[in-house]
């Protein structure tokens, strides 16, 4: 996501980074590049114009901080503007002060409403709420079945009055059903509709009137073109959007939709969908996204993911072991499991600053499984002290794990290397290119 835009922007900014003085002339050159990069990333024309104007105005004299070189200052200005373009700060779901909360999900066909409804429900349950789902999509064949299947998979109750064929009545029924299920948040999935479809837009207004939602979320495909903001604006005029969820962010879209919608509609981007699995869903952080676009990496997200996945205590125990130098294969396995919990590796890699992943670099998730199998085929003693693993033991392990000797060797080699890296960690070096990361958790 945003890779291409990021590359072009950082290219443009590199030109001004080293400048000792900002002048209209050298800024004009860089701003021209920034403008093209944004246009090519599907950002709406009026948004680009506005963005460039703000940066131009701010880079004129007055705002320059003494602590920064003028070139760095320019980058800071671009970064700040990018953050505010993306919405300023993170925004969660508006919960009702008392009584049930109702969330209405809207958007075009194929933007990912049904999948996102299930994802949001899972997210809310993790936060301690008791969600319930209902689909008011009576048009797309099997749309209601889809939500029911997803609800069943996640063990989240779904209201599915199959005998009702009127979206408003279905919603009414669901509002009543909340009590029976002891739910406190109702997520209402709706049929995809075009903003110019008068009949369906009127239907959406009727649904909104019936359920008086606390949130009206607009679900937007991150790959949408230049008209993303116009579409969102039309929905906004009819049903007053309170937030946006961007979907399919795991693709390579240049992100114009993300950059345009907030500034045109005024509603913040609240979440983003980053994969096909229900848990691949994140709270949207404008500052981190801006950092990612500008190639500053997303160290904060990475750290938070690590913290979420690692049981604090386990992590502390591991840390003690690391510093004591008796990190063994059992610990290695535990750490692997933590990494696995953090999500697909290539998503994590995208967050590491300074780490550019080649587009075709496939990360072999299957390898993790094989490593697990190999360690599982070892005896307790072998896991504790890897040095006892001789040739015949290796053969047994390879056979037991369905791998071969080479793979066992490779794993042991990696493990030894890792132990070495840990020693440098202990000396307080930190990972190259990851300033400060070495100090996490101290």
């Amino acid at each position: 996501m945003f890779e291409q835009l990021g590359n072009r922007l950082s290219e443009a900014l590199r030109k001004i980074k080293g400048l000792s003085q900002l002048s209209d002339a050298n800024m004009a050159d860089a701003l021209g590049e920034v403008r093209l990069a944004l246009l090519d990333a599907d950002v709406a024309n009026e948004v680009v114009k506005d963005f460039i104007e703000k940066i131009r105005a701010q880079s004129k004299g007055t705002a320059v901080l003494k602590s920064l070189a003028p070139g760095q200052m320019a980058i800071k200005i671009v970064y700040d503007e990018l953050v505010s373009l993306l919405g300023g700060h993170r925004a969660g779901i508006n919960m009702a002060d008392k009584g049930p909360t109702v969330v209405l999900m809207t958007g075009l066909q194929g933007s990912g409403k049904t999948t996102t409804t299930a994802k949001l429900a899972l997210h809310l349950r993790k936060e301690g709420f008791r969600p319930m789902l209902v689909s008011a999509d009576i048009y797309r064949p099997a749309a209601r079945e889809q939500l029911s299947v997803l609800g069943a998979q996640l063990e989240i109750p779904v209201c599915y009055p199959a005998d009702l064929n009127d979206p408003v009545k279905i919603c009414k029924k669901a509002m009543q059903a909340m009590k029976d299920e002891d739910a406190n948040v109702l997520l209402v999935d709706t049929a995809g509709r075009l903003q110019i479809d008068e009949e369906l837009m009127a239907e959406l207004e009727k649904i909104k009137k019936e359920i008086s939602p606390n949130e009206v979320l607009f679900i937007a495909d991150a790959m949408t073109g230049r008209q993303a903001a116009d579409i969102a604006l039309t929905f906004h005029k009819r049903v007053q959007i309170t937030g946006v969820i961007l979907t399919k962010m795991d693709g390579d879209a240049r992100g114009g939709a993300a950059l345009s919608i907030k500034s045109v509609v005024g509603a913040p981007i609240k979440f983003s969908g980053i994969g096909e699995k229900p848990e691949q869903f994140e709270v949207f952080h404008p500052d981190r996204m801006a950092q990612r676009i500008l190639g500053m990496g997303d160290v904060l997200s990475l750290i938070e993911k690590a913290q979420e996945a690692a049981n604090e205590e386990e992590a502390k125990k591991l840390e003690r072991k690391m510093s004591a130098g008796d990190f063994d294969l059992n610990d290695f396995m535990q750490q692997l499991n933590m990494v696995k919990k953090m999500g697909p590796l290539n998503q994590l890699m995208g967050m590491v600053p300074g780490l550019k992943i080649p587009k075709d670099a496939a990360i072999d998730e299957g390898a993790l499984g094989r490593v697990e199998a190999i360690i599982n085929s070892m005896t307790k003693e072998e896991r504790k002290s890897y040095t006892i693993i001789n040739g015949s033991r290796k053969e047994r392990i390879a056979e037991g794990s369905g791998t071969d000797i080479n793979e066992v060797n490779r794993l042991l080699k990696q493990f030894v290397q890792m132990k070495k890296v840990m020693k440098t960690f202990k000396k307080g070096g930190g990972l190259p290119g990851m300033p400060g990361v070495g100090r996490i958790g101290r």
Binding site: D40, N45, M223, G225, R226, I231, K248, D250
Partner: protein
């Protein structure tokens, strides 16, 4: 079933009206009152093309040819600009040969990113072919998305055609295998195979697709006879990445553009064809089955600009 050309054209025109308003309208307002076709005029037109999702490279190429035409006096007045661009765009989007109908059965594989409209497009195509008197089998190859099989089953019921389906979570290659075997054994005219939506950046899912493609070719020589990428018409410049990546994994024979009704700026079509040289096979401008029609370059260019 009669598909009125006039009716479809007016719908397309209506769908692209917004583009037209901005594209044609902008060009008119840019050129009004200007005697000389100077750089500022040309840049204004380029901006208008970019705003219509044509994309930077294609917009630049169009403007370069316009500049040449101005120099050689082929375009002498402001009034000549739109007809000139219309002709250029028509020439740009009219690539490749027409759809082929080879194979017994004729096998069509549908691929695309999530939410592009693959299943719906298959439903519409099945309806169209059945109405033309062809015998059709659809294959529910999207075994991943919840209720995708039920969705296609409903379409097959409406179209009155057969469906080959497995359980949710089954191997899509096995579904394709069974569909081809059934198509041959039951002497069907056409087999249309659905696949799960996948982002072109997910290499493991693209590998799965390659396997489906391989199995189809192994079971029937020359198949799939058509491999169509379904692209959401509201997609921006990312559409070009989608086409390129899918084409690199499995050989595409053409593209279907959906949802060209009202939301789309349509200009993306020009950029896609110009940068990938793959033909557009069908375009969809509405919900009804007859709203999916074979692509006609001249009609499209006329509706666009």
């Amino acid at each position: 079933m009669v598909f009125g050309k006039e009716g479809f054209f007016s719908r397309l025109k209506k769908g692209l009206a917004k583009t037209s308003e901005t594209l044609a309208g902008k060009i008119v307002s840019i050129t009004t009152g200007r005697m000389a076709l100077d750089d500022a005029t040309l840049e204004g037109i380029e901006d208008a093309l970019i705003a219509a999702d044509v994309g930077l490279p294609t917009a630049s190429a169009l403007i370069a040819s316009l500049r040449d035409a101005v120099k050689s006096k082929d375009v002498a007045t402001a009034d000549d600009i739109r007809p000139f661009l219309r002709k250029r765009i028509e020439a740009l989007v009219a690539v490749g040969e027409g759809a082929n109908h080879a194979g017994a059965p004729h096998v069509i594989l549908m691929v695309g990113v999530n939410g592009a409209g693959k299943t719906t497009t298959i439903g519409k195509l099945a309806t169209r072919f059945s109405a033309d008197g062809k015998s059709v089998i659809v294959a529910a190859g999207d075994t991943f998305r919840a209720a995708a099989i039920e969705q296609l089953a409903e379409w097959s019921r409406r179209a009155g055609c057969e469906i080959i389906r497995h359980q949710a979570g089954a191997d899509p290659s096995a579904v394709a295998f069974d569909a081809i075997r059934a198509g041959i054994a039951r002497k069907k005219d056409i087999v249309i195979i659905d696949t799960a939506g996948r982002l072109h950046t997910r290499s493991n899912l693209m590998e799965e697709l390659k396997k489906v493609y391989r199995i189809i070719g192994r079971e029937l020589e020359g198949a799939p006879h058509e491999t169509l990428l379904v692209v959401d018409g509201t997609t921006g410049q990312n559409a070009i990445n989608q086409v390129k990546e899918f084409h690199a994994s499995i050989k595409l024979s053409g593209i279907v553009i959906t949802k060209l009704d009202g939301t789309s700026k349509g200009g993306a079509v020009v950029g896609i064809v110009n940068e990938t040289k793959l033909p557009i096979r069908y375009i969809g401008v509405g919900e009804a089955a007859e709203d999916l029609q074979p692509f006609d370059a001249a009609l499209f260019a006329e509706a666009l600009i």
